[in-house]
Structures are given as C-alpha cells and as structure tokens.
Symmetry: C2
Subunit: 533 residues, 2 copies
C-alpha cells in the first residue's frame, strides 16, 4: 500500500545522541579551541592530529562503563583490517603514536590535540555521543613536576577562555592513595594485584558517582548492588559493612578535615548533597579560613588512613610534592586543591588524577540551582604505551571537555558572539545581476562581508525578510530609476528595526533609516553605516 506513494523517503534526522551546530555555535567553539591551543603551545606542547578511526585493538578497553554490553565504543568489522573503531578519547591514540614513533619523537614528547571523540553511550539531555576534547599530555616524564605543570596549565587555560579565578577549582587526587584505601578495605592484595580487580572497578565507579547517586547510592554499590529508578540493577562490589565504612570514611575525608578546621559544627547549607563540602565552598572563603594549610591538612588526615600501606604512602608523598611545586609557582588552594573524592572514570590511570570543576551555580531545566560540575579531567597513565612495546613509558595529561565549557559560559551569559550577518545587495531587476554582483564584489574587496540576494527576486518583501533573518546590518537597493541616476539606496536595517520598535508614526514616515548615495560612494557609505567610517 505504501508502495503507491512512491519510493520510501529517508528521515531527515541525525542518529540519536548526535546534533548539528550552526553559525555562532561553530565559531564560538573554534575560538575556544584556538585559545586553549595557544595556552598549550605557550607551555611548549606541539600539535598532533590522529585519525578518527583506529583498530579496536590499539584503543584498548578503558572506558568508564565497561559493564555495558557494547563497551561504549562505535566499532565495526572491516574485511581487510579486522575490527575498527572510532576513538573514544585522544589519549589512547596518543599512546599508539608514542609507541609507533618512539624512535623519532623527542623524549619527553609533549603534544596537544583537539577534535571530536565518540562514545556509544545512552544519550540524554546535554549528553551527546560525539563531543570535543582538547588535550595536552607529556609522554616520557616520570616527574611529578609534569603533573603539577599540567594542573597549572589547566588553571591558566580556564582563565583564558573566560572562567575567572574563584569560579573554578582544579581538584587533585592520586590513584595510589585510592589503592591504599582498597588495600585497607581488603579488596587489594599487594602480593596478587590482579585479585579483586573486578571489585575494585566497581568501587571506583561507585566513588566517582557520589555526586549523582549520593552517599546512600554509593553504599549500595559498595555492597550488594543498586536498583535505579527505571528498575535497572547495577551489580555491587559485595563489600561487607565494615569494608564499605573504610571506603566511605575516605571519600568523606575532605568533609572531616573541613569540620576540623572550622570553628564549631559545619553549616549544612554550605555543602554539596554528597557530603564533599570542599568543592562546594567558595574558594575564596576556603583560602581565607584554611590558607595554604588546607592541602597539608588533607594530606595529614589521609596519612592516618592509608599511610600504613606502601602504595598509599607513596601516593601521598607525590601529592605533597605536587602541592609544594604549585604553591611555589603561586597556584594556591584558591585554584588547585587536594581532594580525595576525585576518581576519574577511565581505567588507565596509575598515579595523580585531576579534575577541573566549575564552582558557580547555574539553573537547571527544572529551575533548580545546581553546581555546573566537571569540565576537564586527566591524570597519569604509566602503562598505556607499555601495552604496545612492553617497555614502561610514564605519561600524564589533561582533557578539557570543550562543549561543556561552552555550555557553562553560555549559562553564565559570558559569550558575546558576533552574529551580524552580511550586507545584502537586493535584486530589483534580474537582468542586472552582474551589476549587483559587482557591488557585492566591491564591498568584499574592502573587507566588508556582503552577498547578492540569490533567491527568487520577484517579491521584494521576501528579500528584506531574508536580510532580517540573516541579521544583516545594511540592504543595498538599486532599481532602474536609481541606476539611471547613478545612485543606490542604503537601508540601515538595525536602525530601521529600532525605529519600527520605538518611533512615532511621523518619525517612521520620514524614513531616517534609508538614504540615497552616489553609486561611486557605495563602499564608503556602507562602511560609515557599519561604524567603520
């Protein structure tokens, strides 16, 4: 039956979780990428662009939600090449490049990269399956000075794209400290590191979800598991109550330290639901009440918890060094803080991990105020290159989620894109197209954005509607009468819109927004109207 209607038409839609970006959305993102690239470049990083497609084998399996069936990657089997996949981040391809070109690249190899990455995850509001990352990494340096530098550079980048100091915080933790906690909680056996790997994965993902699931949700995931609102069940780590308490005590460490440093009991209004008081605090206030002592107070507290384990002790030492290096360069806890609740979902981190969070509130879809949250993350991954070569290559880096950062600046009303359209040369007489093109050509020669109306010129009103839709500042009009007299009409569309909105009928009739000028003066007069005169 449907056959009678002719061939089936394809649906004019992107696949779910993908979208299009128009006009200012594109130029704003480009400007942000350029700004961040400049910061990375100034720090000595060189650009690298890898292809979107890699062998699935080279990418490895390090995505946060490894419990999902398709493991979060868009992949397909190629006749000749085997399984291929779209990159899910810019780090896995870097590890492949570092291994492939290890004899040619400088050591350390400092590179930045930017571009889209793809995740085969369930899309949601503001959650897309293609998004931009802008990364910088140092491969071949074991020094914590590399980690400290990355954190400082991240703070610089955020400020240069327009997040003022005080509106963001870079939080630093160490996977080694987390491993110390795992050991203390009995899910890591230093003599058999592979044992309990599955359980540890669940524990880490649970800690990472603290702000989404709250303390109760995390406890459920540490224990028997958790059923979400839709009825889906997520497997738990199977920890006993006592084991889980140790993990929770660690997660809440920042809170405990804060309480200790404050006089009197904590103010519940000043804290995030998950209990991570630190990151909700106004950073200025934190600087004031804790001063440079904050990071050391946190480290001191953690030492009591995980110091007895070798790996935990080492992790805390590294954090101390990072904190000292940053302090010496003037990056105090108003910008960069030690925070034990930072996990980072990706499975490849082995040492320090970083996360940049915006600390200001925005209003969500339902009108409720909420923290904007994380816009960048990274850390040390000493084993990624080893996968290929067998030789350990230390590496560390950061990834800025550019689309989220743009959304944050929009939410704060801090984007002022130039959305002004081109000068539109209207078509009064379709036989004189070459004359109109000539006018547009002269304007462009003078650096003025301009075009001839190329739709059907029959209805002149449509031409002005078009100019309006394009947010055009000026329309150029020349009928045969004007042509014979050697003049053109210029319509100041911005002034015209203002008059239409505000003027009296008398003012309107006098048409102050339209003026007749000599054809020879076209460029000079348009320039004057554009405020470039």
């Amino acid at each position: 039956m449907a056959k009678d209607k002719g061939p089936r038409r394809p649906r004019a839609e992107t696949p779910k979780g993908f979208r299009d970006y128009f006009g200012a959305e594109v130029t704003e993102r480009k400007a942000m990428l350029d700004t961040i690239a400049n910061v990375y470049h100034r720090y000595g990083f060189d650009p690298l662009e890898t292809s979107a497609v890699e062998t699935l084998d080279a990418l490895g399996k390090y995505l946060p939600d490894v419990d999902r069936p398709n493991e979060g990657v868009f992949a397909w089997e190629d006749e000749a090449e085997g399984w291929l996949a779209l990159r899910y981040d810019l780090t896995a391809p870097l590890a492949r490049v570092a291994a492939q070109f290890r004899n040619d690249l400088p050591t350390p190899y400092r590179r930045y990269a930017m571009g889209p990455v793809w995740r085969n995850e369930k899309p949601g509001p503001g959650r897309f399956r293609q998004f931009y990352q802008c990364d910088a990494d140092t491969v071949g340096s074991a020094s914590v000075a590399s980690d400290a530098e990355i954190c400082a550079m991240l703070a610089d980048a955020l400020e240069e794209v327009g997040i003022p100091r005080g509106d963001y915080v870079v939080r630093v933790n160490n996977r080694k400290v987390l491993n110390g906690v795992m050991e203390v909680a009995g899910v890591l056996d230093p003599a058999d590191p592979e044992k309990f790997a599955h359980e540890r994965g669940i524990v880490m993902r649970a800690i990472d979800k603290l702000d989404r699931l709250g303390e109760e949700g995390v406890r459920a995931l540490l224990g028997k598991g958790r059923k979400d609102e839709s009825g889906d069940f997520t497997e738990g780590a199977g920890l006993s109550g006592e084991q889980a308490e140790k993990v929770m005590g660690f997660v809440n460490a920042a809170q405990i330290v804060e309480d200790e440093l404050r006089d009197g009991p904590p103010n519940p209004d000043n804290r995030m639901p998950g209990g991570m008081g630190l990151t909700l605090d106004n950073p200025h206030e934190r600087t004031e009440h804790a001063g440079q002592a904050w990071n050391w107070a946190v480290l001191d507290h953690l030492m009591r918890l995980v110091g007895p384990t070798e790996v935990g002790f080492q992790g805390l030492q590294e954090l101390g060094e990072i904190s000292d290096l940053l302090k010496a360069q003037g990056y105090g806890p108003d910008r960069i803080v030690i925070d034990p609740s930072v996990v980072r979902g990706l499975g490849y981190y082995t040492g320090p991990v970083f996360e940049a969070e915006l600390t200001f509130e925005i209003t969500d879809d339902k009108g409720r105020p909420r923290q904007f949250g994380s816009v960048a993350g990274g850390g040390r991954y000493d084993d990624l290159v080893k996968r290929f070569t067998g030789q350990a290559v230390p590496a560390t880096g950061i990834s800025i989620g550019v689309d989220r950062l743009l959304a944050a600046l929009h939410a704060k009303g801090r984007m002022q894109a130039d959305t002004r359209g081109p000068v539109v040369v209207t078509v009064m007489d379709r036989d004189r197209m070459a004359d109109y093109q000539q006018m547009a050509g002269e304007l462009r020669q003078a650096g003025i954005r301009a075009e001839v109306y190329l739709g059907n010129p029959k209805n002149f009103g449509n031409q002005l509607k078009y100019a309006d839709k394009r947010n055009s500042p000026v329309a150029v009009i020349q009928g045969s009468d004007e042509a014979s007299r050697g003049v053109v009409q210029l319509k100041d569309l911005f002034l015209g819109a203002k008059i239409a909105a505000e003027a009296t009928h008398e003012e309107w009739k006098s048409q102050p927004a339209q003026s007749e000028v000599a054809r020879a003066d076209l460029v000079a007069e348009v320039r004057r109207l554009l405020g470039q005169g």
Copy 2:
C-alpha cells in the same frame, strides 16, 4: 607457544589508509582552513558543523565507485539506530540539515563547513581514507548566479591560500550538456529517463577517468570493458563504435576548438596525454590567443553537437549565462573556463559542475614531471533535499580538498611554517624544580613559548639534545653556582648550531653563543636573543 611470552600486544599502527599529522602539518592545515573560511564568510556564508556519523539512509548512495562491493562507505549496524555510517562528504549531511531545518533556516541558506570525511576505498600513495574538505553551498537558489558566484569564490580562495593567478584554472561544465550527449549517443531516452541509467553511469565514470586511462582506456570502457594491469576487469557501457565516437567527439571538443582557434596544426608538446589540450595550456597563453572569445567558441562548438537536444540546449544556455556573469565581474578564462571534459564523479549533480585544477607541473615519485591536477570540485544538485521532503530544492556548491592543496603548496615549496620550538629551561639541580618552573612561568607571562625539561635530568647532554630535537632557540641553564650568584646562562642554540657548522676552533672555544645574564634580566635577555628585544 606464543603464550609463554605473556599477553599478546596490540600493534602500534593506524589501520591502512589512515595517518597521523604532526606539528607544522597540523598548524599549516589549520591556517589554510581558516583562510578559506574567511573567504567563504566574506561572501556571506555561515558556518555549519554536522556530526561525523549519520544514518546510512540519510547519506544515500552517490559515491563515484558505486561498482565496489562496500560502496565506499564505513558503515555498521547499531542495535537501536539501524545502519550508521561515517559521512563520505559534507554535501549529503547538508542536504539532511536543509530538509530537517527547512522551516527555520533562511532561504537561500548559504553555509560553509569544514572537517574530515571518510571513504572506504583502496588506499594508495597519497590517497587516504580520511581527508579534509572545506565546502561552501547555497541551498534554495535556482539562479545560475549562485553557480557563477561559487566559481568566483573558489578562484578567490585559491589565490588567498597562495596559488597565484595562472597556476590554477576553474573548469566549468554542465551535466545537462552531458545528458545531451547521452541522448545524441542513444543512451538517454527523454521519455524514459530511468532507462540506460546503468550505462550512463559507466559512460560518465569513463569520461571522468580520461586523464588516468587515456583515450584508449576510455574507449574500452565505453565499449566492451577494460582489463587493467593487475588483470581486474571493469565492465563497459556496451556502446557501439558509432555511439562511442559521439561521446569521444564531445570529450575532445576543447581540443578541436583550440585547433580551430590556432593558426596551423596543434603542437603536440603542448597538450595533455588525454587530448584535453585546454587544461594543459598556460592560461596566460590561452587568454592571449583566444581572449574573452574562448568560452564562447567552446559553447558555439558544443551547440552544433548537442544543441538539437532540449536538455543539451538548456545546459549550454546556463553555461553561457555563467560565463557572462563571471566576465562582467572580471573573472575571465585566465581563471575560469568552460570545459566539456569535466564530469565530477558524484552521482547527485544535475546542472553546472566545477573543478579547480592546478596547472603547474610537479615531479612525481619516479622523478617524472606531471600536472598536479584537481584540488576542488562541485556543482549543482537539485534533487538531494527532495529525497527527504519530496519537494524540489535547488542547490549548488563547492568542495576544496584541503590536504591535496597543502601537498601542492609543499611541492612548490610555498609553505613556510614556523617550526621554532620552545625556550628550554634545563634542570641542573632536581631539588630546585620550582625555581626552574618559575623561570618558564615568567617567560610565558611575557608571551614567550617556554618549558622546563621534564625528562630524567641526570645526563645534561640529553637535555641539550632534547632542546636540539625540539628546534629550541634558547636553553636556560642555572646550576647552584649560578643560583648563588643570582645569574643564569643563556645558550643561543641557533647561533650555536651555526658556529658548530662554520666556525674555526678558536671561535668555537670563545663560546660566543653562551652568555651569563642577571636572573632578574632573564625575560629581557631571552627576548633580545629571540629578536623581539
């Protein structure tokens, strides 16, 4: 047995046909994309960025090599979304956008887009499966003024990225004229346009391959088919000798016109192997000997061939209008010419088609001189949006192959990338890392690209080797002695390299490339060495 060697390691390689771009390769491409985007923007086009992934259905099947089994697209089946694919160009996604947002976009909709596209084709030397395109299209304008504008803009863009006038030519043809030839040759029946569609596809691809296969190869494809060097057989269109002659007469039209315009017989040295004398000619010479009359002479000749068919006549009329419009704007045949041998492989073109060719010679891998060839192509595709909506929407556009254009500029030695590396602050005393970071920080504050050496600092020679590999202009050195005296050593590495290459032993010993300066003067002195003083 392999099991004893531990877990299997992934290969550190891209899939075949993909590659990585390092340093200047990335920044050069970015600069070119920015330049082209500025031209498009000045002409009134707005940016659009679609996602890399589309439904296979939305993309449609318009690739040149439709006879290949996988039809040239990277595609996979998604559980929820059905068949998805990587875009193979930027035009098919634009058609989808124009249909999806038809009620919101201005008419005409003028957009530019840039980014990678993917083709699942056999890779070869210089032929990759991911490459960049930079497109501009006007959707919703039936006027040939849109086509003419696109050609003019293409010429402007090529000149702005560094191809001087005379080193390129934009060739224009019309699919309607081709259809006229098909009708004359008996493979197009106006009363039943679907009939012979398969044969016409083969004929068009054959014409398009003229420069690769030569006249004989094309004749084989028009007839029974062709066996290539590897023994692979390509099906032919099955035309009779008489039918094939008509097509060949058309393809050689430019040659015939040239012969007519010249005094005496053609000079065989001055012509391409395929017989398309026009495009091999020095454009200046062509201007001289044929003047503005060239395009009209070609049109006049074609009129005799295909004028009797309705579609051919209409196509020639359009070409005449385009030629006149361009001439009026000063784009003569030294930049834009009518050339009947232009086909363009993509199946969706319906009217004027364009191709930009670089006319200078380069030396190929085997040391032989050859034409560089096509770097951009486009045309009118009036039915692409109709696929989705059922309503005809006229559209035209151009796609610049940015990677090929970059290769051309490299081949001509016209790229001068800034490959200067960062100032490297060396590490003499690893306990004073914070001091070194402080120095790098001060340099960056002053806008100077700088970094601290982050490898193992034990071997100082390695630090200087690193600086050398990074093409660093200056190394900063401060041991404990210098630190106690409040000074730093600055090593001018460019001067040092020059001295090492040219100086006498006495000059070398005096170490003119190294100087001691006060720590407080670090920034000023580095700036002086960089020539920014």
